[in-house]
Assembly symmetry: C2
Homo-oligomer: 372 residues x 2
């Protein structure tokens, strides 16, 4: 193998590919990145066994070939190189030589044959989704998924596509996040819905690979147990989480008896202050009392108490309801509007939080039952 490429291009490719490396790999070979040089490109591949990421970098190939090199170490070496052209060559005994200006490193590698092969999903329907919007949707769903859950499906996010809508759902039993993108999605013949439960950490890594340029698209290929996402020069292939996702539509309340409209920033800051005392208590509990266009937020612990008053617009009945401060706080932070609406039926049913403008997304938070 012998090639030249830009140090800047190579580092971008390595950073994206090594996102698939596990913190504690199950086998030493999973610490390596596979480099394949052919057809004017160098292809970098990393895998943790269930997630594989492949990045393509333009290169001037003098001699084709492949090799495995330590993934994180190679990334650090390339990151520290001066700007310019990198010359990479592999000689006898799988020794790679990396030259850039007056810097020369050698790295011991391994033959590429030993690397686990990723099989692309081919001959399936391609689903095209705007990158920037999807990246934003992921960031507003991911915080709500379960971290360590007895029901493994909840550690992933549900992707659901119909002809007119793409939906992302995250929930952990205490709150739910639902993001909707309207669009003209072409589904495989004979299907009227496509569903996939994507592991949470894969969602996060995909969103980091996505860019902010308007017009850029992600292409998805989905089969029974796998998803392939093509994001520019990078391909992500992951196993999906098996099992049925909770029927989240069933949980969404149909109507409300109390609706509060409040300024997001004021609400968020009041929750933050109430949290400081709430978190010293047992349940991280804040109480919300709404009456006569005024909301009172209170918290209490051995160290003291907090009372916050905010002007609101109240429709329907007055209410007293309690929340875990973190759950409601996370949700309010993720509403991208000047005002948000809280719609409730009573103090023990889920509260729906949504922006005042549009119906692109909503959140649902379970209240905490308190005895007075």
């Amino acid at each position: 193998m012998k090639l030249k490429c830009s140090a800047q291009d190579l580092i971008v490719g390595l950073v994206n590919a090594t996102r698939a490396l596990a913190a504690r790999p199950s086998s030493p070979i999973l610490e390596y990145v596979k480099l394949t040089a052919a057809d004017g490109h160098i292809v970098l591949t990393c895998t943790d066994g269930s997630l594989t990421i492949r990045a393509e970098v333009k290169a001037d190939i003098e001699e084709e070939g492949d090799i495995l090199l330590p993934g994180r170490l190679l990334t650090e070496i390339v990151r520290k190189l001066p700007e310019g052209l990198v010359a990479l060559s592999v000689g006898d005994k799988n020794i790679a030589v990396i030259k850039c200006l007056s810097s020369r490193s050698t790295l011991s590698g391994m033959p590429a044959e030993e690397f686990p092969v990723m099989r692309d999903i081919i001959n399936t329907h391609a689903l095209h989704v705007p990158q920037k919007r999807l990246k934003d949707m992921i960031s507003r769903v991911i915080f709500a998924i379960a971290q360590h859950e007895s029901r493994q499906t909840l550690t992933g996010s549900l992707l659901e596509v119909t002809k007119g809508e793409l939906r992302l759902v995250g929930l952990d039993g205490f709150r739910l996040a639902l993001q909707t993108m309207k669009g003209d999605f072409v589904l495989p013949e004979g299907m009227d819905i496509v569903k996939a439960i994507i592991p949470g950490h894969v969602m996060t890594e995909m969103s980091r690979i996505m860019g902010d340029e308007e017009g850029a698209m992600v292409t998805f290929h989905i089969d029974q147990g796998h998803l392939m996402a093509i994001i520019g020069e990078t391909t992500v292939l992951t196993t999906l989480l098996a099992g049925e996702y909770i029927n989240y539509r069933q949980i969404l309340p149909k109507d409300w008896k109390t609706r509060i409209t409040v300024k997001c920033k004021e609400f968020e800051e009041a929750i933050e202050r109430a949290s400081l005392i709430a978190r010293e208590g047992k349940n991280n509990l804040i109480k919300v009392n709404a009456e006569n266009d005024m909301m009172r937020i209170t918290s209490m612990s051995d160290l003291g108490d907090v009372l916050e008053e905010i002007a609101i617009h109240l429709e329907g009945e007055a209410i007293e309801i309690a929340f875990n401060a973190r759950y409601i706080g996370d949700v309010v932070k993720n509403i991208d509007d000047e005002c948000c609406m809280l719609s409730m039926s009573n103090a023990v049913s889920p509260c729906v939080l949504s922006p005042v403008e549009g119906d692109d997304y909503l959140y649902l938070v379970l209240p905490v039952r308190v005895s007075n």
Copy 2:
């Protein structure tokens, strides 16, 4: 106690005072901040038993008094307050009420009498030092002091003042940092040198309190075992480290047989690249070989090797010398000049690193003996 003050002023004072709080306080009372309201000011005091920091905040005092409140919690509460005037009052049972706009918190406090008293150093000579320059000197010395050292004095930095010079020294047995400030320092009558060994973490906290404004001064008062530093509205009082500091002048080499002049940035980056492989080896070792106006930096481990070549200006004899990559790297990073000079006698004696311009500071790094 009853007062009003600006939330912004109060947070600055609290942040500075709570720098004295220990991560693991030896007694519960050392988690508190003492608030004393009198004479148009509120004075905030925290201590860990050996370091005390006192910050003064302008306030509109309606009723004088004092109280102890949980230091970190109060700081977080004030930090989250909306901008504006804070009203603070203490009623029965040491309950403090903090009001700001429509936010109202109460905090359980303790009577102030139980707080350990700090005794100021009075009736001693005052030494005035420019703040900005001192802050910079501290940052370039502090990295070289010992972290966990059998000789406790080395966990501090030596402050040494003569009529014409103020010096800061840090050393840990492998490297030494020496910073010099020329000036007209007025010493106590009958003394021609003042010495104090200031604990490393106190140095760090003092430098964080110092500002960057030209003209601002720090005033030091030193007695046998204590140092008091007045930095604007903040007063730092610390016990000094007991014992004799190493006679560092004796270690400084008087002459050299090899002198290398090299561009700092090129040298620093080459060391960084060589470090990536060196740190995988046993001794984090890099070798430096200088001959014919060319420096070769090499490192080696099981994973591979690095060779870096840099153009230099060489005076005197050629040399081959080895260093711990971290020790020499730290020092080069802290040289604030385009070029630096390495002056050596042989491969086993300390190497002196200094800027080409001026003699305000120098570093000394012990080489590592290697058998070829």
